[in-house]
Amino acid sequence: MLELIVISTLNGVLFGMLLFLMASGLTVIFSMLGVLNFAHASFYMLGAFFGFQISRWLGFWPALLIAPLLAGAIGAGVERFGLRRVHCNGHVAELLFTFGLAFVIEEIVQIIWGKSPVDFRVPQLLDFPAFTIFSTNYPAYKMFMLLVSIAIFAGLLIVLKKTRIGLIVQAALTHPHMVAHLGHNVGRIFMLVFGVGTALAAVAGVIAGPALVTQSNMAGLLGPILFVVVVVGGLGSLPGAFIASLLIGLVQTFAVSMNGSLAGAFGPLSPAYASTWLADIWSVTIAQIAPIMPYVLLVLILIFRPMGLLGTRDT
């Protein structure tokens, strides 16, 4: 039991930090441009596939650097030539534009790499067990993922809070016109933030690719969870996104490792009911409902705290 708790906590924090790598970019982009980037998970997928392709040619370590840069450049291009153009048609048009973009990116990835998972392996250097707890070998690569996520989290925090660039970005969040009057190029700041945000998602993609499955549906699987994180945390709140990422990471990991069901707790149904649809609810295990846990959490949060955990503003 203790083993389960320790391992699940580690995995949960890891998954939560990965989610936060993406949610942070999404949140900053949202608070700055007012648009929720529907294609954010697609950049995560692009990161994973670029990482796979480049690690084939040059090895994993160059891929870790080049793939996010590439994805970030694409992201900046999308902002400069796409989003800025639809901006005058309002936020719904921007959201729809990114929705179409997510669709197109998924199809293009399918054309190039196919629908089945690609063989993206953990680099040799990190392919060993880091430590053994209670007879379980914990892979070093997962510790590496955790370290990278924490390093980026710390870096982001320092850049946003302690540097001049961070100061301008924070000012542009709330008072874009004032920042422009002071002589800063707000358009360029927006483009940079969009590029950096998508590059962060791509970093998450490169480091998650070998550990999870790199496949053309990975954006579709992760995207909705990402939006749940952002809404649960409160739209536009970075600390909220952090808490929500960890919360959902932990909830989902713990749910997967639990095997209880109503039937297990109270005994099986009488034969008269066992063939009706009640049996589905009665005998489903917690592990089976793990995929819907984030959405249940979303509905609960919406009922009891519609602004999100740390949200303040109504959109």
Binding site: F30, V35, L36, G82, R85, V86, N89, H91, V92, A93, L95, L96, F97, F99, G100, L101, F103, V104, E107, I108, Q110, I111, G220, P224, F227, V228, V230, V231, L235, S275, T276, W277, A279, D280, I281, V284, Q288, I289, P291, I292, P294, Y295, V296, L298, V299, L302, I303, P306, D314, T315
Partner: protein, 333 residues
């Protein structure tokens, strides 16, 4: 003293206007009746049925997006649930030999859509804009994932099927041949389109537009935007349920793809490409998208890519959609 405050009703429409208005609907009905005599092959009848279903679904979506300004990524939930309930209803009616003919069965789907929209809508419509879009996505994922868990009711990945010909026959129609299904779909399409058009002319329809344009002002006038959004959501759910029911009757099967994100995406594409600013827009979009998906999927495997590209081009360069482009050139006529 003040003519401004007087509340004169607008003048009654002249006879010519009335004739034009009702004539248009009668002409539509006549076209729907005569269409099979011109294009009588099985393939074209199937296509027409699909278009009719798609028209109802897209128009119901436009009650949300076009009329009330709510961008939903989960409208297929009500479509799919309507479809599932209708399949189960047909099975129950067939097994118990109830005296219910097939043409009124789509009402079951509509009421299902209404019920679930009433249940889920109150939470969803608390907020508008981006938050509503994300919430609709989350709720849709919740229902779609649950459908795979509740296997007995939703039939897992295979879905549930039914036999539509086992029901009470009226006028000797068994609803086996596609032509009879075509007339069923056409009749329901006409009824639903008239009903949804009438809805836009009611005070509620007008308040929906007001909520879309300026919710704060609506509050000052004394209405609650949340309630208006909720009512619009319920109506949209009702008509989506009817569309799902007709689809289930047409294919005689309902599976989890009905509820999925792809279905929600398709209806968004259809409504937006057609043009959400006009009542007729989603109708044009539904016809266009159905033809395009049938035509392109014959030609290429990656037809969805072209779909996405067309959508992006429309968002970028023609936010009014096809209808918007056409209406722009109206003064030329």
């Amino acid at each position: 003293m003040s003519d401004i405050a007087s509340s004169n009703a607008p003048p009654l429409p002249s006879v010519a206007d009335k004739l034009k208005f009702y004539g248009l609907w009668l002409a539509t009905a006549a076209v729907l009746v005569l269409l099979p005599y011109v294009f009588g092959s099985g393939g074209s009848l199937t296509t027409f049925s699909l278009i009719g279903i798609s028209i109802i679904f897209s128009l119901s979506y436009n009650i949300l997006l076009g009329q009330t300004g709510m961008l939903s990524f989960g409208h297929a939930v009500y479509y799919g649930l309507g479809g599932f309930l209708v399949i189960h209803a047909i099975n129950i009616i067939g097994a118990n030999k109830l005296q219910i003919p097939l043409p009124i069965v789509p009402l079951v789907g509509g009421l299902t859509g209404l019920l679930f929209a009433a249940l889920l809508g109150w939470v969803s419509t608390q907020r508008s804009g981006t938050a509503f879009a994300m919430i609709s996505l989350g709720v849709a994922e919740l229902i779609a994932s649950s459908a795979l868990i509740l296997r007995t009711f939703f039939g897992g990945e295979a879905g549930v099927s039914a036999n539509r010909t086992k029901l009470l026959k009226i006028f000797g129609w068994s609803f086996g041949p596609q032509i009879q299904i075509y007339y069923l779909v056409a009749a329901w399409t006409l009824i639903a389109v008239i009903a949804m058009y009438a809805l836009t002319r009611t005070p509620l329809g007008r308040m929906c537009n007001a909520v879309r344009d300026n919710p704060e002002r609506v509050q000052f006038v004394g209405y609650n935007p949340h309630t208006v959004r909720y009512l619009a959501f319920c109506f949209a759910g009702f008509f989506a349920g009817i569309a799902g029911a007709l689809a289930a009757i047409n294919f005689e099967i309902a599976n989890s793809a009905y509820l999925g994100a792809a279905q929600s995406g398709t209806v968004l594409f259809a409504a937006y490409i057609g043009g959400i600013g006009f009542f007729i827009g989603p109708i044009v979009g539904a016809i266009f998208v159905t033809f395009l998906s049938l035509g392109l999927s014959d030609l290429t495997q990656v037809w969805q890519l072209y779909f996405g590209l067309i959508f992006m081009v429309v968002v970028l360069f023609a936010p009014g959609g096809i209808t918007g482009l056409l209406m722009m050139h109206r003064p030329l006529l």
